[in-house]
């Protein structure tokens, strides 16, 4: 392998762990990030001259620690500076030999990555900052990449990240895995951040590009990491299953012309079989652990819908029951709308419309696109052309995504053609 290839591989596999450990030792995100970045630059300069070391990750670890010592000596404003400096210098003198020879203790690095994840997703930080910090520290994305993925100006995203790091340092947001009593709630927060990252990649909220693959891949990598680090938490497997099952259909969601393809019309040959299988296996593991958490319920729904799309008949009754369970664990307009659709598809469109009725009266949901899209679809199914046309028009007004908009306009046209009087 070339120096560049080894560097890229080390960056992908080991950077987060090295950074996580250094943050614990320094107690400062910015300083640790700068030191790790320095170490990679040192490696790029050094390895092409002196050759690639036997253990690149250990080399980077030691180089980053030395760079941290240099930076710490020059920085005044770090809490416990003298103590941290002494500890790092001691490690550098004593542990140097060992760490050059072997990879740093795997357990410690795993713990540090988990600490890093919980700190990045601390509820005292704004969710947008949690997402950005997670992608930057654990995912290794640059601020520019994150800004582009979330359609935010780069300086804005830069400020968001800097401000979050500053708050972690100033307010002493702890660097640890929460204790048992807080763990379920805090883990839920971490999982939601990863799912948010996935969703942002999976469904662009604006613009023509339907899938931003790198965000999906980052989110799945984080979900894999969480399931490895917390294998007894059912929801880590539930999230992994959900993201894998959704992502397996990435290639089938858009046709050659760029148009959105709904699940029931997708060519199942285009699904990524390996991801489907990995998703199912993660789901089985989640179900064995139990708990009926929101992510495993959603993954179970996705699995049934996908089985149905392959076999030609979705078991809507089971889907409706799972949405019912989901509505009690994690109630939201999204779940309520999907539940209504599942009930309608299971054979009683009127019951589905009845479930939608209170949502349609809720003024706060007046601009909620999926509600109106589902309303339009159900009205079309019961043959209420006039109502469907009105609902489709409302939906189209609310749709930013060009691909989805085109599909809705096509459906509106179908209804109008079938019933010219109604329009």
């Amino acid at each position: 392998m070339t120096v560049d290839e080894v560097l890229t591989q080390t960056f992908r596999h080991d950077r987060a762990g090295i950074l996580a450990t250094l943050i614990r030792r320094l107690g400062d995100f910015q300083l640790a990030e700068d030191a790790v970045q320095d170490a990679f630059a040192d490696a790029a300069a050094n390895w092409s001259r002196a050759g690639i070391p036997a253990n690149p990750a250990a080399w980077i670890t030691v180089a980053a620690r030395r760079r941290a010592i240099d930076r710490l000596r020059r920085t005044q404003s770090i809490a416990d500076r003298a103590k941290r400096l002494a500890e790092l210098t001691r490690l550098d003198e004593q542990g140097d030999q060992e760490e050059q020879m072997s990879t740093p203790e795997a357990d410690t690095v795993a713990d540090d990555r988990l600490r890093l994840m919980f700190t990045c997703c601390h509820p005292a930080l704004a969710v947008s900052a949690q997402v950005a910090l997670t992608l930057r520290t654990l995912g290794g994305l640059s601020t520019g990449e994150i800004a582009r993925a979330f359609l935010v100006a780069e300086p804005t995203m830069g400020k968001r990240v800097v401000r979050a790091k500053r708050k972690i340092a100033d307010a002493r947001i702890p660097y640890r895995v929460p204790e048992a009593e807080e763990l379920p709630a805090r883990l839920g927060g971490v999982l939601r951040v990863v799912y948010l990252i996935f969703n942002e990649g999976y469904t662009a909220t604006a613009g023509a590009e339907l899938v931003r693959a790198s965000l999906c891949e980052e989110a799945i990598r984080l979900a894999v990491l969480l399931s490895e680090l917390m294998p007894d938490a059912a929801e880590t497997w539930g999230l992994l299953a959900l993201t894998l099952l959704h992502d397996s259909r990435r290639g089938a969601r858009v046709d050659a012309g760029g148009a959105f393809v709904p699940l029931d019309a997708q060519d199942t040959e285009l699904w990524d079989e390996a991801k489907v299988e990995a998703g199912r296996s993660a789901l089985r593991r989640a179900l064995r652990l139990g708990g009926a958490g929101e992510f495993q319920l959603q993954a179970a729904i996705a699995a049934i819908e996908m089985e149905g799309a392959s076999s030609g008949a979705i078991d809507w009754q089971r889907v409706a029951a799972l949405y019912g369970a989901l509505a009690s664990v994690a109630p939201s307009p999204v779940v309520a709308v999907n539940r209504a659709a599942a009930v309608a598809f299971s054979g009683s469109p009127q019951s589905g419309l009845a479930l939608l009725a209170p949502l349609l009266c809720d003024a706060t949901l007046a601009g909620y696109q999926p509600l109106h899209a589902t309303h339009a679809e159900l009205l079309r199914r019961i043959g209420d052309a006039r109502g469907a046309i009105e609902a489709y028009r409302r939906t189209i007004e609310l749709t930013d995504n060009a691909v989805e908009r085109a599909e809705l306009e096509r459906r509106l046209e179908d209804v109008q053609t079938a019933d010219p009087v109604a329009s």
Partner: protein, 125 residues
């Protein structure tokens, strides 16, 4: 003797203006020392900026955290607690226990350590 709390309000400033303010540190010390000498001083400290604040509210039994201050004109400053905690989590937990969290807000602002004031490296090396 009755006690009084002096609340210091100031517009947020950029880094250059911030540096100008820190240049006035000797003046602050002079005032503080004279208050101490007069025997009226109990405690004082600068706070980190509002961007480091976390607002705690308890609604329907659920504790909610918001990044930043919770400033509404309807809520008035009603009291204060000064706590010494190992980290933010401990401070937030205490904040959530205060009855005000149920009907108002408790803003948790980190207090600057006097030893870490700009230009004062008392940590040494």
């Amino acid at each position: 003797m009755p006690e009084y709390m002096l609340l210091l309000y100031a517009p947020e400033v950029d880094e250059a203006q911030e540096a100008e303010r820190w240049a006035e540190l000797p003046l602050w010390f002079e005032v503080t020392e004279s208050l101490k000498a007069a025997g009226v001083h109990l405690a004082n400290a600068p706070l980190y900026p509002v961007s480091d604040a976390t607002t705690v509210r308890v609604r329907g039994g659920e504790t909610e955290f918001t990044d930043g201050p919770f400033a509404t004109t309807k809520e008035i400053l009603a009291g204060y607690y000064l706590l010494s905690c190992p980290d933010l989590d401990a401070a937030l937990k205490a904040a959530a226990r205060l009855p005000t969290a149920r009907y108002g807000s408790v803003e948790v602002r980190p207090v600057m350590d006097m030893a870490n004031l700009p230009g004062m490296d008392s940590n040494g090396e």
